[in-house]
Amino acid sequence: MMPAHKIAFRFDGQPVVAMEGESIAAALLRHGIVGFRIAVDGESLRGPYCGMGICFDCRVQVSGPNRPRLMVRSCITPVAEGMDVRSVPYPELNNV
């Protein structure tokens, strides 16, 4: 069997090495990153919950050499070389 091809990307600026074909969520979890963003209570962390694209709890923002910044479900989005993955910022409500 051929060894899996390695892919480098970043999560909130920190370099992460993933296997080709791996989802963003799987790669982050393998690196011990379980909190992907701040929950609505402003304190606790949220990460993958359903792991199959239903709950949206694992959402992250992704941009890359050839892709605009988009919110994706990290559990069903494969990693790509040079991806810039960032936490979805805590929702900002102006004037309320």
Binding site: V40, R59, N94, N95
Partner: protein, 398 residues
């Protein structure tokens, strides 16, 4: 075994009827083609809206007067939604009645609000007009473009995912309830003094139920289910779009509707904001027929339109991501009024469909159960009887 009733359709209306009937001591069977809540009950945004809707006052005074006749049902529904959580005693069912605002921006909108309020006052629905300064204090999250509103203190939202299943559990607990899901009705006909309903489980065999009465509570499928009994029923499937944002700190404390624009908005306990208000989706067509069993397709302009109205009204939504959008199908009647009652041309065949079947779902169920068990109802619902479509069924039946 002979049942008191076979209910076709496992949404809120079917489940509520099963609950009230089994509680009255009747043996009931319920047949659902998919799973509980698969249709509009599980797809709608769960508004408990008692004020007259935009779509009901949009088509002239005569139709608005007619639409206002549902208000006794609304008053009954207010009582039932307020009591059901305690009555079922199955914990938190996510029913919130913290008040609802129907908004106006222009002078024309304000006139509509006033016309609506006069109708509601006549029927004793608890609503009152709120002026701009009071509105700012009540709902600081609203845009400055909103100039007035009418407030109904008992509006809010419910969660059919919890309510329908709690009703089903309560019916099962009586020991008098037979539930069949993934089971499609193939035939509905008179057999002597009873009705015979033959159905087929998706992965299983055929089964026959004999019953004194049948209830068609099939929502968007009501016309097709009626056809199985050789009846015409003017209930039409309509496809709608709903949107949900990511969770945010609680800041919207009311059910929000608009008197002149398509908007319903509420923030759930978890913090997500649900947006709807009658934005259409595209029904899948197969040849010259609408495909009832396919998820309606998105219209991008509906998603954009819904968000654009919502942003005009609550500018702070700008800071939230849209998390998901979904489509659903609901059954509406040709005159917007509910169809609740017995079909005169088919004694023992009852219908509960159309109208605001989520908000009024418990009430439909209670009325049908009363009709089936004692031939009369606490409320006068004769206006909503399928008898008004009598001409359609003069030549039907076998």
């Amino acid at each position: 075994m002979n049942y008191a009733a076979v209910i076709i359709g496992g949404g809120l209306v079917g489940a509520a009827t099963a609950y009230y009937l089994t509680r009255a001591g009747c043996d009931v069977a319920l047949i659902e083609q998919g799973q509980i809540n698969n249709g509009a009950s599980g797809q709608n945004a769960g508004s408990l809206h008692f004020q007259m809707e935009h779509r009901l006052i949009e088509h002239g005074d005569a139709l608005a007067e007619l639409a206002a006749t549902i208000m006794p049902l609304s008053l009954d529904a207010i009582e039932r939604w307020g009591a059901i959580e305690t009555e079922l005693d199955q914990g938190d069912l996510d029913i919130v009645m913290h008040g609802g605002l129907m908004l106006a921006e222009t002078a024309e909108h304000q006139q509509k609000l006033e016309r609506k309020r006069r109708l509601e006052e006549r029927w004793k629905l608890p609503t009152r007009l709120v002026d701009e300064s009071e509105l700012r204090a009540m709902a600081p999250y609203l845009s400055g473009a909103v100039t007035a509103a009418s407030f109904c203190p008992v509006e809010g939202h419910g969660n059919a995912r919890l309510v329908t299943t709690a009703l089903i559990r309560a019916a099962l607990a009586t020991g008098k309830f037979t539930l069949r899901t993934q089971c499609v009705v193939r035939e509905t006909r008179r057999q002597g003094q009873s009705w015979l309903v033959r159905c087929r489980e998706v992965e299983g065999g055929e089964e026959e139920f004999s019953a004194d009465t049948v209830l068609n509570a099939a929502g968007a499928w009501a016309a097709d289910v009626a056809a199985l009994a050789d009846l015409h029923l003017p209930v039409f499937p309509v496809a709608l779009t709903m949107n949900a944002t990511e969770a945010a700190p609680r800041f919207i404390g009311h059910l929000i509707q608009h008197v002149g624009r398509r908007l319903s908005m509420k923030q759930l306990h978890e913090g997500n904001v649900l947006l709807g208000g009658g934005w259409s989706a595209r029904m899948v067509r197969k040849g010259m027929y609408f495909e009832r069993n396919a998820r309606p397709e998105f219209k991008l302009e509906s998603i954009r339109g819904n968000i654009s109205v919502a942003l005009d009204i609550v500018p702070a939504l700008q800071g939230l991501h849209l998390l998901r959008s979904w489509t659903g199908m609901v059954g509406i009647t040709s005159d917007s009024l509910p169809i609740v009652g017995e079909v005169p041309q088919a004694p023992g065949y009852f219908v509960a469909a159309g109208g605001s079947a989520f908000t009024l779902g418990l009430t439909y169920g209670a009325m049908v159960a009363q009709l089936m068990t004692r031939r009369e109802t606490d409320l006068d619902i004769s206006l909503f009887s399928p008898a008004r479509f009598g001409p359609l069924n003069m030549f039907m039946g076998r």
